[in-house]
Symmetry: C2
Subunit: 362 residues, 2 copies
């Protein structure tokens, strides 16, 4: 990092929320990180400041043309007091891939990682310690130029905010009911489905609402071209255990390249459990179920880590998976991943990165 | 409108820009309109206030999940000093259709139209009078709840900002060169292409940049499923005159239902010029051109009104339309539409709505 990080501490610390009632993304820590971009200076003026509102011209491009990207990752406090981050470099690489797709300038990943670590150290008292809790970190970039022409912005802000979170599902790691969406589409090849950008989530709200109304927790997205190949579940990647082999949709351009997904594939290979990335149709899945071959299904993502699927509803055909119970593999994956993340289990792949105060910047 | 509109006038009026150098969406008027939404109160507290920055929590949903919709329309000052709006009720109806798709609560269209008129009256000195200029009006809604869960917001702000604008293309009403996009997709059926929402524009930036780099003014979008049917041109609808008949892509779910498009169809029917809305493939278009049947092509939208197309480039096959000149029909449509909009020509369809100060609200 060539630019010195300026740290302005808050004078009025907030009261921390009850660790039993954290929820997800409701409470935010005392500080945030900001970095500005202008066409002439590039990214400049990295600073940690008290958590505070953003002040933007009403014509700022983010409000009108959605030029924005984000990331989501977690920090954990170990029993011996260390602060661990799960594969943060992967998130920053993906942020830059999203930037590329959204015509947002490349961000120095080392600078961003340093900023992230520093911010966590400043707000380390906010990392909760109860089982299932963690500090959720949300880096994001917004286009701030006040100009209504449809063209990439010449000004941006990169920010990091952090929220102490409880388990994503209030129900805990129990199987969820999933509605297979046939009307709405999340993303399509050639679009922005591969990028972590706001519009993908806006596009999914209506279907999600419909699923909730029908008593389902999330939707399963089918591809936008054939309307039959499985893409994701809510904002998670998805895996199926069929006849002892684990299958997950291949990255095809409209699916997010999930870091949990990638880690699970690595773990499965390490355990010599066969895993294949391929195109999977919903019909095929139902056929496997009919033959008694569909053993487990689960969603994967930073927020929930592993979310077992207990029921699928596709065009009013409901199928129950593993008797509506959390499967053996789902449990093992959840325990292993969260164990590594919390520093309780060994970390064979060197996934965890420690956040410690950086005294100077060279 | 059951709620009284509060008007707070600015104390420091801005210096107005030179009418010859307005550009598009660069300068903003002295005032803006705001209306708040909360789950308990619904839409409330309509107010006109001095144009000023928006202050939002960094966790506001608009920054992360793009839950936002907008509109664009224009006001004109006639030679006899009246202020005319072009079909504003159409924009507010479309805003509500976009709201429906984006899970944003319904907005009272009468209240919004009253607000629009009042705001224009307050800032009427900002309506430019030079030929080709107008006051561009940007109503928009953003999700403001500070919560990172992916679900519709419980808080919103509806705002209207206004910008005196010159002709959209600095080149004037001259034919533009269009690049037919084969790699990227703007929208797909089942997605949000039919809604005027930020994510659609973010998704188009990369292709637009590529086209600009190659010396083209806009891209022509093909459908996301077959990658061969014509959808739109940049952020305009598109029309082709083939053998005396005018063809435009049918509204299929991924195309914006343009108000200029709709008005042109009405005008053509009024003139007894045959017009059809249908599926048009890019191959077919090139075949018509090869046979000498493709007479004219033009984009249509609020910003440019009519934008004649002089050249198309599809997979390195370049074709020149109407000898690269503005066609007769394009010219007639441009002159008729802008004539009606400026109050110079009669308004046979009662499209224009006058903005006058509303003294009280019932
Ligand atoms: C659309 C979508 N798919 C999948 C994932 C899972 O990715 P990761 O495992 O990196 O959290 C996410 C993010 O959480 C997502 O937003
Ligand atoms: C994507 C898109 N298509 C078409 C149009 C044209 O619509 P209208 O004629 O209502 O301006 C617009 C808006 O200007 C647009 O954003």
């Amino acid at each position: 990092m060539t630019q010195a990080l300026d740290i302005q501490h808050t004078l009025t610390k907030k009261i921390k929320p009850d660790e039993d009632k954290l929820g997800f993304g409701i409470h935010f820590t005392d500080h945030m990180f900001i970095l500005d971009y202008t066409a002439d200076k590039g990214w400049h003026q990295p600073r940690i400041i008290p958590y505070q509102p953003i002040v933007l011209d009403p014509a700022a491009k983010v409000f009108h043309y959605g030029q924005t990207v984000f990331e989501g990752l977690k920090a954990y406090k170990t029993e011996d007091g260390r602060i661990l981050l799960f594969r943060p470099e992967q998130n920053l690489q993906r942020l830059n891939r999203s930037n590329e797709r959204l015509s947002i300038p490349y961000l120095d990943e080392e600078l961003a990682l340093d900023a992230l670590k520093q911010l966590i150290v400043v707000d380390q008292d906010w990392i909760p310690s109860k089982a299932g809790t963690s500090l959720y970190i949300r880096p994001f970039i917004i286009a701030t130029e006040a100009l209504l022409g449809v063209a990439p912005s010449t000004r941006y802000q990169f920010m990091i905010i952090m929220s102490p979170v409880g388990p994503y599902y209030s129900e805990g790691v129990n199987p969820v009911k999933i509605f297979v969406e046939s009307q709405y589409v999340r993303a399509v090849n050639g679009g922005v489905g591969e990028a972590k950008t706001a519009g993908n989530y806006a596009a999914g709200l209506k279907a999600q609402e419909g699923a909730t109304d029908k008593g389902y927790s999330q939707v399963l997205w089918l591809d936008g071209v054939h309307r039959k190949y499985i893409e994701e579940v809510g904002s998670m990647n998805v895996f199926f255990k069929i006849n002892g082999t684990v299958h997950t949709p291949a990255l095809n351009g409209s699916i997010l390249d999930g870091i949990t997904r990638k880690s699970i594939i690595q773990l499965l290979k390490h355990w010599n459990i066969p895993v294949v990335e391929r195109t999977i149709s919903i019909e095929e899945l139902y056929e496997h179920h009919a033959k008694g071959e569909l053993e487990e299904a689960f969603g994967t993502g930073t927020a929930a880590v592993i979310s077992p699927i207990g029921e699928l509803n596709w065009q009013d055909q409901k199928i129950s998976l593993n008797g509506g119970q959390t499967g053996e593999l789902s449990t093992k994956l959840y325990q292993t991943l969260t164990g590594i993340q919390n520093g309780i289990l060994p970390d064979p792949f060197n996934w965890m990165v420690e956040a410690t105060a950086i005294s100077s910047h060279s």
